[in-house]
Symmetry: C2
Amino acid sequence: MTTLSEVARLAGVTSATVSNVLRQRGKVGEQTRQRVLAAVEELGYRPHLTARALAEGRAPTLALMVSSIANPFYPEFALAAERAARAHGRFLIVCNTNDDPETGRAYLDQIAGTLSDGVLIMNANLSIDELKKTEQRGAPVVLCMWEKPDAPPELPCIAVDFHQAGAVAGRHLLALGHRHIGALVGSKKGGIHAERYRGYIDACAEAGIRHPQNRTRFIADTVEAGYQATRELLAAFPQLTAIFASNDLPALGAMNAIADMGLNVPHDISVIGITDIQWARVSRPALTTVAVPTAGAAEMAIELLLSLINRSSPSPTMRVTATPQLVERASTAAVRSA
Amino acid sequence: MTTLSEVARLAGVTSATVSNVLRQRGKVGEQTRQRVLAAVEELGYRPHLTARALAEGRAPTLALMVSSIANPFYPEFALAAERAARAHGRFLIVCNTNDDPETGRAYLDQIAGTLSDGVLIMNANLSIDELKKTEQRGAPVVLCMWEKPDAPPELPCIAVDFHQAGAVAGRHLLALGHRHIGALVGSKKGGIHAERYRGYIDACAEAGIRHPQNRTRFIADTVEAGYQATRELLAAFPQLTAIFASNDLPALGAMNAIADMGLNVPHDISVIGITDIQWARVSRPALTTVAVPTAGAAEMAIELLLSLINRSSPSPTMRVTATPQLVERASTAAVRSA
DNA sequence: CTGAAAGCGCTAACAA
DNA sequence: TTGTTAGCGCTTTCAG
């Protein structure tokens, strides 16, 4: 490990000077600059990020807290977040909480403010109060993919208009003539997908249609749960011609269930999801869905987090992403005339 | 930010003692221990990881270098790696190189040995020599998912018997009676998937069958490339009854191509992949594939990396994962009698 | 058993 | 323009 002072010695200057030329800070004579650079080159010196961070009083990393990076939605977000972080000279640490509050707490306790200057939270299963606490300890926190733009939380956040997303999905189905729709909500009642569901319900109301509560299933946000729930729904309500899912994973499960029941998507039953994860493009039929601006949200989140860290954040502490857009693929079609 | 010395002051001891209490190191009197703990509690003290790392002369993180975390294979690996790292008190930094050597080099230069004590490399597009250089600078490197157990590289690595994986896939197709098989190799000729292909070829030879070279396509490791190549292959060789793909993504693409051509998988054409990524389970028909022990490999990689860091690694610097296993699902079937 | 002191590698005033 | 001097917060001998 070559250190600053070794470089300094070789260049015949002091470490402060080396530091200065390396960060083009203070004015350094061209002469010495060259000598220093030569010494750096010769010794293959590379700054010690940990030491630098300690001296600067800031951490070199940002953290991204997710329940599991293996959940198909997160990698796309993480990729964009890491890129944005890199563009600002920060590294990204990923924290998988496995939806366990204890794990989340442990992460926050350990890295917030020490190893990481700030934390992006996708879903921590932690109370706002707990998150606030880490914020007060000096490590800003930003909630990503907040579900309701009109009810700003007490923490900085990137919000997606999921109500709108749900409405767009609902309207699409309605416009295709569907009147008997089953709904899959990928969270418990009133949970994280509530807004999407409400958006769908509102779209129905808008069209003068009432969505019977018993045609809704509150399930886990997985392919399997979507599969299971769809089988039940179709068994109970054979008249259904479409499935609205609050997320793509359950939607994909729904498509499989329908196929396994010997029915055809979209000929017999249409399916729509929300998010537009990679799989949506790959499935057959390709899934019609409402795309959420994942990469954009990640970039916004990093920007906001950094501005918070630099205490240069203007008042609006909630930022809303671009509006979710319908991506019409092959899993939806006009209802068949009876 | 509460510091050690603040805690010390409150407890009426010196920071060295607090440090000792916290890391149950030196023997500390029960009396003072209690007082210190009380002070820690009262002040909500949390050790500063960066400072600690600097003092200990080690970095608190490990790095994982991938081309893109959005590639469906990596998240599963990353999840397991992060868990294993956590179990050893380390955090995981993800580095997306986007397959750009420059980016990879930049990462290595910046974090290896300073922010991260070691690096897991999935695929860096860097020469062994370059990697060796960072190793010599004090940051161990381990190659993950090395393709040929019998040709150990000059760097520590976790190897998967991909030759065997290819052979297993080939034998499965052969056992089902397929004699006209198209091959999709997800890398350029002689590239990273060469062993898998060779395994397949050897399985054919074993069965006394020769695989005509023109029935092989060397393509990108993506769904799209698999799709495209399959269409071409089937157009050129209508007699094909099966597709061997060196990876799941092209295999999934193949299934879609076949479906879009109005043929049925597996009735008309069987498809097999290698890896067993999550999508393989979700696709319809579910993909038959040869599972690679992803999580196990990740754990082994972390263990090896840590032992290298602690200089406690025994001589065998290459470790081989469990053998890839056939996972028979719905995309393969016995060839139809003509 | 506890304290004093040096130092990890770097940055940041402040002097010279 | 360059050097000096303190630290950043923690660990770790080595005395007491």
